[in-house]
């Protein structure tokens, strides 16, 4: 039988949520983390996390996720597989509704992260699993010795291109601007890899094929010129968007849909905090997410203590 009443409930089991849970559990607050899948979050898609301090050789994303989860559970964080279906955040005891029943908490930390952005062009939905992919790390091995494309210019896109270059015969990076957003060290690696080519100022207009993806229709955003590119696979790496659909009309969000917080990670609703990628102006890095999680946890703990005095 699962307990129903907690001091702190954390929604989302990525680095922000797990760090928050580590802190609230060590503060000996009854803490529950709700996650709709296995805990770990976005880092589970990273082959090697090279920018989280303390791992000079880098660390595999799945391994880092497991370690964070293990560390938080060691101090008493409870983790439950459950998708949140509703929230009642006003009042002293906040109610979190899930498919596994309702839970209550004095403070809530929202750390449900971000979802991948889709390309939104003809052919994308049709060819999912037949050449259109969103996880190059998962699927690169299915594209041995064939040409593939990656759409995007940020860290995720360049990581994907580098990983795919170990398998594919050629990787074309399609980017709508003239320069990459990715960290300089990743750019250096990509420019040094002979299998990686770039199409600048270019967007994908359509994805075409028969049973599987065969070619892309491309358009140059400056000249308007159209062209085609023969590929067997296309990986979409356009970044992510805050997963806040279920928070509309409940918490103040910015124009991009991210949760607005102050420097204590407080949202507009007393006792409700937000941490990680979901937060406005988040840099969407593991190191920042864990920092947010710790900050949110410390102020959530203070809130619970003060509330207890009344």
């Amino acid at each position: 039988m699962v307990d129903r009443e907690y001091d702190v409930i954390i929604i989302g089991g990525g680095p922000a949520g797990l760090a928050a849970g580590l802190y609230t559990a060590r503060a000996r607050r009854r803490s529950l983390l709700l996650e709709r899948a296995a805990a770990g979050g976005w880092i589970m898609n990273a082959e090697l996390v090279e920018n989280y301090p303390g791992f000079p050789q880098g660390i595999n994303g799945l391994e880092l996720a497991d370690l964070m989860s293990e560390q938080a559970k060691k101090y008493g964080l409870e983790v439950l597989l459950a998708e949140v279906t509703g929230l009642e955040l006003e009042g002293e005891r906040k109610v979190i509704k899930t498919a596994e029943g309702d839970f209550t908490a004095r403070a809530v930390i929202i750390a449900s992260g971000s979802d991948r952005v889709k390309l939104g062009v003809p052919g994308e939905e049709e060819f999912i699993g037949r050449g259109v992919g969103y996880c190059a790390l998962c699927d690169a091995a299915f594209f041995r010795e064939v040409p593939v494309a990656v759409v995007g210019g940020g860290n995720a896109a360049i990581d994907d291109a580098l990983h795919l270059s170990k398998f594919a015969v050629k990787v074309t990076v399609i980017h709508r601007r003239q320069q990459l957003r990715a960290t300089t060290i990743l750019q250096e690696r990509a420019f040094a890899e002979p299998k990686i080519e770039f199409r600048w100022d270019t967007v994908v207009a359509a994805i075409e094929g028969g049973a599987k993806v065969e070619r892309l229709r491309l358009r140059n955003v400056r000249s308007g010129e159209e062209s085609t590119l023969d590929v067997s696979g296309i990986f979409v790496a356009l970044g992510s968007t805050p997963n806040t659909g279920y928070l509309k009309d409940i918490l103040p969000l910015d124009a991009s849909g991210a949760v607005i917080t102050n420097e204590k990670m407080e949202t507009g609703v007393p006792g409700v905090f937000a941490a990680g990628d979901i937060r406005a102006s988040s840099i969407r890095q593991v190191v920042a997410a864990t920092g947010d999680g710790a900050t949110a946890a410390v102020y959530a703990e203070k809130f619970v203590v003060e509330q207890g005095r009344h």
């Binding site: 709709r36 899948a37 296995a38 770990g40 880092i43 589970m44 898609n45 990273a46 082959e47 994303g61 799945l62 996720a65 597989l81 998708e83 498919a99 999912i128 699993g129 037949r130 050449g131 259109v132 992919g133 969103y134 996880c135 790390l137 998962c138 699927d139 091995a141 299915f142 594209f143 049973a211 599987k212 696979g233």
Partner: protein, 108 residues
Amino acid sequence: MSKPVEVNDDNFDQMVLQAKTPVLVDFWAAWCGPCRMVAPIVEELAGEYEGRVSFTKLDVDQNPRTASKYGIMSIPSLIIFKDGSPASNLVGFRPKADLKRSLDDVLG
């Protein structure tokens, strides 16, 4: 909770295609994050649908023959086989409700 059974290239025909009940096959690999995310959901469903649907998993890295036969180009792919052929195919991480809907559709 009943765990999904590992199947492979050699026993796929017997375990999946010849089965009397529908069989869900979770095509996965060790390096795949979304596969790891979906695994506990599949385990829960294995308990909830016990006796009505068999739950299995196939490591695409170890069993390329079967993965290629069913045109797997993206994992996780959750294919529900009924009477020896695919009746439903879900690609990528999906929430539990989506998986339940597919299972219920196949069960009719």
